[in-house]
């Protein structure tokens, strides 16, 4: 299926740049007439992915590029987050399991991948020739 539109955004790998990407995604969600919670969910997933790249692939080292491709199809929106840093270990995707009564055991990290998998309809990750690409798609109900 052919895209009906696409946007490419590139930021330098700094955490303070991540909200710029988030704002762009929220703007696109608004243009698609998505409700506030659905728009927040798209922004959240992209922010989690770009933050992961900045923190883990590039280890908070500035001066690297994080690229986001936003592809709009008639039935879905797809986000591709691309980097040339350290590849993700797919085994790190885990369920969010905890006992709400055991305060000392509550998770403080490791929730980002869970959130992406829970909110998006498709999530996959591939590395080719040093380029890591995380692809996430959400089907749109019109």
């Amino acid at each position: 299926m052919e895209t009906t539109g696409s946007i490419k955004l590139i930021i330098e790998s700094k955490l303070e740049n991540v909200p710029l990407i988030g704002g762009a995604v929220r703007g696109i969600a608004s243009a698609l007439s998505l409700d506030d919670v659905s728009g927040y969910h798209l922004e959240l997933c992209v922010v989690e992915a770009v933050t992961n790249v900045t923190k883990h692939a590039y280890k908070l080292e500035a001066g690297n590029s994080v690229e986001l491709n936003i592809l709009l199809f008639p039935d879905r929106i797809t986000f591709q987050v691309c980097d040339r840093g350290k590849s993700l270990d797919p085994a790190k995707v885990r369920l969010l399991r905890f006992d709400p009564q055991k305060r000392e055991m509550l998770p403080e990290s490791g929730m980002g991948l869970f959130i992406m998998h829970a909110l998006m309809d498709e999530v996959y990750y591939e590395t080719e020739s040093g380029l890591n690409v995380l692809t996430m798609s959400k089907y749109l109900r019109r």
Binding site: G22, Y40, P100, E108, G112
Partner: protein, 114 residues
Amino acid sequence: MQLHQNKMGDVLIVRPLERRIDAATATEFKEKMSEWIGAGNRRIVLNLSEVDFIDSSGLGAIVSSLKKIGNDGDLVICSVKETVMSLFRLTRMNRVFDILPSEEEAIGALSRRL
């Protein structure tokens, strides 16, 4: 990150004055909360009325504050927007924190406790 704080009795009320608690601001949020908890504040209301975006780093910082308080105090959250509430539900953190509609109700809930 700007955090407004005031005390009502022995309850500390913290209200972030920014729209986002994310990876860029979570460390500072956690450090300020840790400082106030270290100074003896064990009953805290977190008023999220200004916040419309929290990511997993921000949520982790709030959880960290609760853990720092330990079992002889509590952190109650209030005035949560629907967007942010959806994250608490998704991650089941709505079963960890008491989340109340208003600051008055949150203060009341903490005052009746302990």
